[in-house]
């Protein structure tokens, strides 16, 4: 089997599949009633994920080292990461909105790699001396995975901002745990009881009201379909206490928080792996190289996001705005720094 022609075929195929998948998600969002379009979108994402994985695997076999040495390979690795994290996020949020935002980004990255990059930058080259180390795989792969998780997390934050525009909303879920309480006050559930407390927000809500129903955006498609979970009549009857479900906005926000929460440790480990590698290779674990500095800036921005979630009075759209701006910061860290054209992390070409 000719590995090079397989790669050429696969990179075009991934682009085509991702483009179609993006259209599927957008059509699905515009016309919520269409049957089977949801499953097709997820399938498209899975196919793209597998073909990119095969492409990278073929390059690994061809070159004999982990395929993360130039821009072309790292772009494909990034889009593989984004499709993977997308599948995780979609599965746990059961929201079709995830794909509306992730597919264009994944498609754009693959389009740039296949169509815009000059072909001499697409071939795999021997590693330069500085990259000949097992740390390459440790550092770069973890960094790329963290970028993809943080990007998907920020995209979900953007989705959250889009569907909650105009609303004041209180977030759930943070390290101090200010979520998990009912929003309708201490309403007594028995029908026979006369006394019921007014539905004023409890103290935990800081005066914000929770977004009550799924009346925003294209709720028909994006609602989490958990309601089908079999619940016995005892649970659903109005008389008894039954679980209060998260709204679409809360679900999106929490998935965004969890995905960023996954990307943040990866970013930390990736930066530390890079620091240890730098110390082993040329004797300084931190030299304020622009790429290093921007990785630190990314880390600081998302650390600020995680702290904003536990700040009284700031829970709501404010942390989500921080997370959404994190999307830009990650891109500057990944590509923008290289436009400055200095430092150790050059991809060749003008980057």
């Amino acid at each position: 089997m000719n590995l090079v022609s397989l790669q050429n075929w696969l990179d075009n195929a991934s682009f085509a599949v991702l483009f179609l998948t993006m259209l599927l998600y957008w059509i699905g969002a515009a016309f919520p009633g269409l049957p089977a379009i949801n499953a097709l979108g997820t399938a498209g994402m899975a196919i793209a994920n597998l073909s990119i994985a095969t492409l990278l695997g073929a390059r690994w076999i061809e070159a004999g080292y982990f395929p993360l040495s130039n821009l072309y390979e790292s772009l494909f690795f990034l889009s593989w990461g984004i499709t993977t994290v997308h599948l995780i996020a979609e599965n746990s949020s059961r929201s079709r909105l995830v794909g509306v935002f992730t597919t264009p980004v994944a498609m754009g990255i693959v389009a740039f790699a296949t169509l815009t990059l000059p072909s001499d930058m697409q071939v795999s080259e021997p590693l330069v001396p500085a990259l000949k180390s097992n740390w390459l795989m440790m550092h770069v792969s973890v960094m790329m995975l963290s970028y993809s998780a943080l990007m998907v997390g920020s995209l979900l934050a953007i989705a959250f901002l889009v569907i909650t525009r105009g609303n004041n909303i209180q977030l759930q879920g943070s390290s101090v745990g200010n979520g998990g309480y009912r929003t309708n006050g201490y309403r007594l559930m028995k029908a026979g009881e006369l006394v019921s407390q007014p539905a004023t927000p409890p103290v935990e809500n800081n005066g914000f009201t929770r977004l009550e129903s799924q009346n925003n955006g294209n709720s028909n498609t994006a609602v989490l379909n958990l309601a089908t979970t079999p619940q016995t009549p005892t649970l659903t009857s109005t008389e008894t206490l039954s679980p209060q479900r998260l709204s679409l906005a809360e679900t999106l926000d929490n998935i965004s928080y969890r995905i960023i929460g996954l990307g943040f440790p990866l970013l930390t480990i990736g930066i530390i792996a890079g620091a240890v590698w730098a110390n082993e290779a040329w004797g300084s674990y931190w030299s304020w190289d622009p790429k290093e500095t921007w990785a630190l800036i990314t880390w600081l921005v998302f650390a600020a996001y995680l702290h904003a979630r536990i700040t009284r009075g700031w829970q709501g759209r404010r942390p989500a705005i921080l997370a959404a701006s994190g999307f830009v910061v990650v891109w500057i860290c990944y590509l923008g720094v290289n436009l400055l054209g200095k430092g150790l992390h050059s991809y060749g070409w003008f980057f």
Partner: protein, 461 residues
Amino acid sequence: MTTDNSAPTASPWWSLPGKFLRREFLPVLTDLRLAIALLLIIALFSISGTVIEQGQSPAFYQSNYPEHPALFGFLTWKVIQVVGLDHVYRTWWFLSLLVLFGTSLTACTFTRQLPALKTAQRWKYYEEPRQFQKLALSAELDAGSVNSLSQILQNRRYKIFQEKDDILYARKGIVGRIGPIIVHIGIVTILLGSIWGAMTGFIAQEMVPSGETFQVKNIIDAGPLAAGQFPQDWSVRVNRFWIDYTPKGGIDQFYSDMSVLDNQGQEVDHKKIFVNQPLRYHGVTFYQTDWGISGVRVRLNKSPIFQLPMALLNTNGQGRIWGTWIPTKPDLSEGVSLLAKDLQGMVLIYDAQGKLVDTVRAGMSTQVNGVTLKVLDVVGSTGLQIKADPGIPIVYTGFGILMLGVVMSYFSHSQIWALQKGDRLYVGGKTNRAQVAFEQEVLDILERLNSQSATVINQQS
């Protein structure tokens, strides 16, 4: 409360500053908004250092940031130099920000995180049905029992607290509460380690011709307590420096074969170093970072072998070329220039008019000005970065703690309460991070409770 009034008069005067700090300063220091502001301010100033060139000469800033017109109306070279934007990461105000950041982290750990952890560990049973009503994820079942719930929770790796048959508390992921504390400890450890390293470490650079012995002398940066680190009673010999080239002519790897010598010149250590593979001896590390050509060994007719030093020529950034001049008459009135651009053995010979006479491989000879010039060898020199950083063990420990902490922090601390009251089973729970996953889990648990009790009822009837 009456004692409050007399308290200030009773306390000795020297406790006042401490009291002032605790009352006025500590609340500000541990305010989360300060922490977020610090994170973003450090990020912002870090950005300035990646946009404005760092560590250039004053002339560079004068030509690139003129006073008229000033960039953005204010950014002139004078501003840059007064504020220190040409070396942002070493300015007093940036370092103070980092110190403030570390102080805030430490204070926050003691005043917020540890008490919060204590609260999280101090749980209690819910003994009244109304306590379940405030939880979003709570339900009232007319089937199932606390014991069957206990079994389900056990399978889901919950830690279960149950003293009686009708009441239960279960939790998992308490590490998620400890994680952020570990993260803060890790960051503070890294900051302390880097301060210690900056105080006691040094960096040096040496360019050493192949075959020569050297002592570490060219120290470019050293901390105030670094003197004890300088190698005094041992030296290093570069036995050989060479470059492996790929078949296409690209550089495959740089190698320096090095020996550590004691006072008597005896070899005490020996290692072949290359990029990513340094030599370590007595806390000092030698890294392969650069290379050059130090000289060329030639013979004219039947002369003894001369080793002539080669100098790096100014090419205005058009690649690196080394050159030397070789006299071809004993009175030095005539000679040729010899140029080399790498260690692959090829040298170029030019005459006094600048005309290319010949290209010669090492080991071959040529005729110039009526003499036989034999080029024996091009001698490389190795560029070494030499460093001692006693802070490394502390920093690496901090790295380990930080990584452990961030991973721990991913776990969500989930708690579940249950109470059997009459024929009713109340179940409720909350979690601090993974709301969506926990909702799913609670629904699954409730469903299982229902189906289990349904089968029990079926079997009984």
